[in-house]
Symmetry: C2
Subunit: 135 residues, 2 copies
DNA sequence: GCTTGACTCTATAGTTAATATAGAGTTTAA
DNA sequence: TTAAACTCTATATTAACTATAGAGTCAAGC
């Protein structure tokens, strides 16, 4: 299987696959006589694993760590669990942040109706004033 | 006022101020004989405006547009309102995304308790399987 | 054999909004 | 006059790709 087919099968772009190779998320592929990368089913599995992790916003270093753990099946999995806990914490913190931001933006938006001039624009006036306290 | 003082007064780092100048968010500052940037109160105001916008996650191009509008006080402010609406939409979309993500992560996390081996780890097994349908 | 087109290769630059250097020059005070 | 503190420009780094240029490979058709 050449890289184009792997790309179709997995839904990862060709550049992304090469990128993952350079970042050591997947092993350097075998090469054909003409220097084309050649892949097998194992590559498909691994790429889907990576894609799944990315869909959960895990970072490439985090995924690298998970892949390494996968290679030592006898080890304890505490590290995996800790990583997940930390990751979940960060996602929840970001949700909090954005929720607060959203409230401020909606408040700001309410300060202007259409058909005003820039001079009268409540949004611009509020942006010029001291920031709304976020506490 | 030299750049260091402007930095202290506004809470923007010196590099950030230079960066904003290069990106044309603030005008090129006057220079002293020794080629040091010199600022006045107007620069403080403008920088605080930018900082306030950034705290609302407005992008530099968006801020540039707001600053341009600020310079034509007679214009209609519809553009400002539209930008805000678009920006709010994006923030809310991101909150939705992260909320969905968070549910999936928590579900995944529940699939493993401590003290298992990597081979038995529910998290790794689920990551290897087909992604959870996201609704 | 030759050409065409689809594919692949490497290397490089761009994306965002800063942040961090290096190496040089300026200013102020001891 | 020397040192500290400050400033200058230019360049590299961050994350995870994405896009491009320019060259090489391969299969099919004539
Ligand atoms: Zn993470
Ligand atoms: Zn308005
Ligand atoms: Zn925006
Ligand atoms: Zn586990």
């Amino acid at each position: 299987m050449k890289i184009g087919e792997l790309s179709k099968v997995t839904g990862c772009s060709v550049q992304t696959i090469r990128h993952y190779e350079k970042e050591h998320l997947i092993a350097s592929a075998e090469r054909s006589e003409g220097n084309f990368r050649l892949y097998d089913e194992a590559a498909v599995e691994q790429l889907l694993f990576i894609k799944h992790c990315r869909s959960l916003d895990l970072s490439l270093p985090e995924i690298r760590q998970l892949l390494a753990l996968n290679r030592s099946p006898g080890a304890q999995c505490d590290d995996v669990n800790r990583m997940m806990d930390r990751h979940i914490e960060q996602v929840e913190a970001r949700i909090q942040e954005l929720t607060k931001l959203n409230e401020q933006l909606r408040m700001l938006r309410r300060s202007c109706s259409n058909r005003r001039t820039v001079e009268q624009c409540g949004i611009l006036r509020n942006l010029s004033a001291t920031p709304v306290s976020s506490g």
